[in-house]
């Protein structure tokens, strides 16, 4: 028993387990402070809520090797420019609605969720809406009655009617517009946004 080499000893590995765990936890905590500061709304990588007053576009960044969001000219949602507080309130209503309606158990947001329906990260910019002018109207109609306005692309899958109020519909669209301006390091790959007027 006394011939157990140091690298196979219980005591050595207990110390290893304690030190490794403590060190890794410390590094994670330090990185968390940095990352949380970097992802506050308006801090750069995640847009301010008032971004919904602007056009959102994507441009190839040759240095980073993928597309990055670009905040363009004024293009208020539903034609009305909101104050910072109003914008935050509307996006917040949308986020709450997305949670309360359990959207994430069919869709993915930022790629997380379920895989029964398309990813919503850049749904505001999806070319499927046709053009910039029709987009808000089509999104509203779809969210109000997704069964009648279903576009199943041959899968037969249609979204159930979640009975959203008019305010909730506006909130969800505002949330989706805001989320589409998050810098996701190029996810999803190769996305080509809907053509919009000069950014």
């Amino acid at each position: 028993m006394s011939s157990t080499p140091w690298w196979a000893a219980e005591d050595f590995w207990r110390k290893c387990a304690i030190f490794v765990t403590a060190f890794m936890a410390l590094v994670l905590i330090l990185l968390t402070f940095h990352s949380l500061a970097a992802i506050q709304s308006g801090a750069g990588r995640v847009p301010a809520y008032s971004v919904i007053n602007h056009r959102i576009d994507y441009r190839m960044d040759s240095e980073r090797g993928y597309q990055i969001p670009v905040i363009g000219a004024e293009a208020p949602l539903f034609g009305r420019k909101l104050t910072d507080a109003e914008a935050e309130q509307l996006v917040d209503l949308g986020k709450l609605t997305v949670q309360a309606k359990n959207c994430m158990n069919c869709h993915t947001l930022l790629g997380n969720g379920a895989y029964f329906a398309p990813d919503l990260t850049k749904s505001w910019l999806d070319p499927g809406w046709g053009n910039e002018q029709a987009r808000e109207v089509l999104m509203t109609l779809f969210l109000k009655d997704p069964v009648a306005n279903a576009r199943t692309f041959g899968t037969g899958r249609s979204m159930p009617n979640m009975r959203l109020t008019d305010d909730e519909v506006r909130g969800v669209i505002a949330f989706l517009k805001w989320m589409s301006a998050v810098d996701t390091n190029g996810f999803p790959r190769g996305f080509e946004p809907l053509p919009q007027g000069g950014a």
Binding site: A17, M24, Q99, A100, A114, S123, G156, T184, E192
Partner: protein
């Protein structure tokens, strides 16, 4: 036949099974936890089948029991039954490990009922009310809408209180009795596991901040603290089934903890590639998560080496078989299936596709379902009177062997089918189609994707048959058995 004779010859005659010691109150409580776990396992399978069927027949139950509801019940029943299985396993081993009766048994019994009633209410609300208006009221009472931790806030608070009571039972019992490497690791791990749950108990508008903390719960549970928890359970299980020396399992446990937390804590970074977090996570997450399979290899080596070293002479063949299934399932499902898509260069194409579903199915089954099943067998053996469960069972062990085969083949078959679906999705939707909604549906309608969904369904049915057989075996194994449990060599070291 020769084997059976040899087995019997190796048996020492003990007290007859009928006169075996009655179960302690904590062990009876563990059996209750196992019972609820198995009911929820069945619920998980039923709702998995419904959700799987909706891929093939989208109109099935549309507007009544939609995919989002079925999928939510499917994954939540799973999380809860595995937690029940872990709690049951810990109540099962705590007295043996501490050497004293459980401290606070009445509190433990009350906690069981509170937790079980809360789980039942949550599931009924999920099924009947389903969703609510976009108000905080819905988050508090109906559904938080965050994958895996959908339970409404009132239930979160209840779960935390129940976990605190459970923690008290376990920690106080060890404090009154004796500590060991296993119990020390277990108690520290339970603190981390319970503490992490708080990271999921708040609401924020900012989706990136939301996801940042959400992954603290989801990743640091299933890829860190749950793994260490099953490492503790496994260590105890190997001592009990094979008679492995305590010093060996404890040293291995420390090695596993060092490797698991060494890779898994910063491996969290592989979830921070695309949620808005800074680019340094691409390097950190890619590197550390690529190391995550290493502790799982160590666990396979440990389990298989120990089993071989003891000539597979176990006192509980079904439990040992499931422990070995755990070692391989954990390595394949959590290790290999995670590794194949963990580098950001690959993950950019696979994140949020059926690749993830494929990984999830094998990882949860392989790492966690298997070890709970092993513990149920250990508990049943004792409950039925410390009876013989080695070779030469009355039905030649057909039920447990077929259940083992069907469940494992079913899980692996679903995993491979979903991986094929995932390949199709990555190519068609991401690489070629440019990730638009049209590209998404183009991927979903390719012939191979659709075929894969049929195969997934078929293997899901196979697995369900396996589960029914397993439950039948649980109800019958060891009944009417007159032989006492085999005494494994070295058994005395562990008692």
């Amino acid at each position: 036949m020769a084997e059976a004779t040899a087995d019997i010859a190796a048996t020492e005659v003990r007290a007859t099974p009928a006169a075996a010691k009655a179960l302690s109150a904590a062990q009876r409580l563990a059996l209750r936890y196992f019972l609820v776990a198995m009911v929820l396992f069945l619920v998980q399978m039923v709702f998995g089948l419904l959700a799987g069927l909706q891929f093939l027949m989208p109109d099935f139950l549309h507007g009544a029991l939609d995919f989002n509801v079925n999928r939510m019940v499917h994954i939540n029943a799973m999380i809860v039954w595995m937690l029940y299985g872990f709690i049951g396993s810990i109540y099962w081993l705590v007295e043996d490990e501490a050497g004293v009766p459980l401290v606070g048994i009445r509190l433990a019994q009350a906690t069981f009922w509170v937790l079980t009633i809360a789980v039942a209410v949550v599931v009924i609300v999920f099924l009947v009310v389903q969703v609510g208006p976009g108000e905080m009221r819905s988050i508090w009472l109906i559904n938080e809408g965050r994958e895996y931790i959908e339970a409404p806030r009132w239930a979160d608070i209840g779960i935390v209180l129940c976990m605190a009571a459970f923690f008290y039972n376990v920690a106080a019992t060890f404090m009154k009795g004796r500590w060991s490497g296993i119990s020390g690791t277990l108690v520290l791990d339970l603190i981390a596991l319970a503490g992490l749950y708080f990271a999921g108990m708040f609401y924020t508008t900012n989706i990136s901040v939301d996801q940042y903390w959400w992954w603290w719960v989801v990743h640091l549970w299933v890829e860190a603290t749950w793994e260490v928890l099953v490492g503790c359970i496994m260590a105890w299980g190997l001592m009990k089934t094979l008679g492995v020396r305590r010093k060996i399992v404890t040293t291995w446990l420390y090695i596993e903890v060092a490797l698991m937390f060494g890779s898994g804590i910063l491996g969290l970074g592989h979830h921070y590639f695309w949620i808005g977090t800074p680019e340094y996570w691409l390097g950190i997450g890619g590197f550390f998560s690529a190391l995550e399979p290493i502790p799982l290899v160590a666990m396979v080596v440990h389990a298989v080496y120990d089993a071989g070293r003891h000539g597979f002479q176990s006192n509980n063949h079904p439990a040992l078989a499931w422990l070995i299934a755990h070692a391989f399932g954990n390595f394949l499902g959590a290790g290999v299936w995670g590794f194949i898509q963990t580098l950001p260069q690959i993950n950019l194409y696979t994140h949020g596709t059926q690749w993830t579903a494929s990984h999830g199915h094998l990882a949860f089954f392989g790492a966690y379902a298997t070890i709970v099943v092993a513990f149920v067998y250990l508990a049943l053996q004792r409950w039925r009177g410390d009876v013989w469960m080695s070779g030469g069972l009355p039905d030649k062990g057909r039920k447990w062997k077929w259940a083992l085969a069907l469940l494992n083949v079913g899980a692996l078959g679903m995993t491979i089918a979903l991986l094929i679906a995932g390949y199709e999705q990555s190519f068609t939707e991401r690489a070629i189609g440019g990730s638009t909604w049209q590209a998404y549906f183009a991927g979903q309608t390719t012939v191979w994707f659709v075929q894969a969904m049929y195969w997934r369904m078929a293997f899901g049915v196979l697995m369900t048959v396996g589960l029914l057989l397993l439950l039948w075996d649980f109800l019958t194994i060891g009944r009417g058995e007159t032989r006492a449990a085999k005494v494994v060599p070295g058994d005395a070291n562990t008692r």
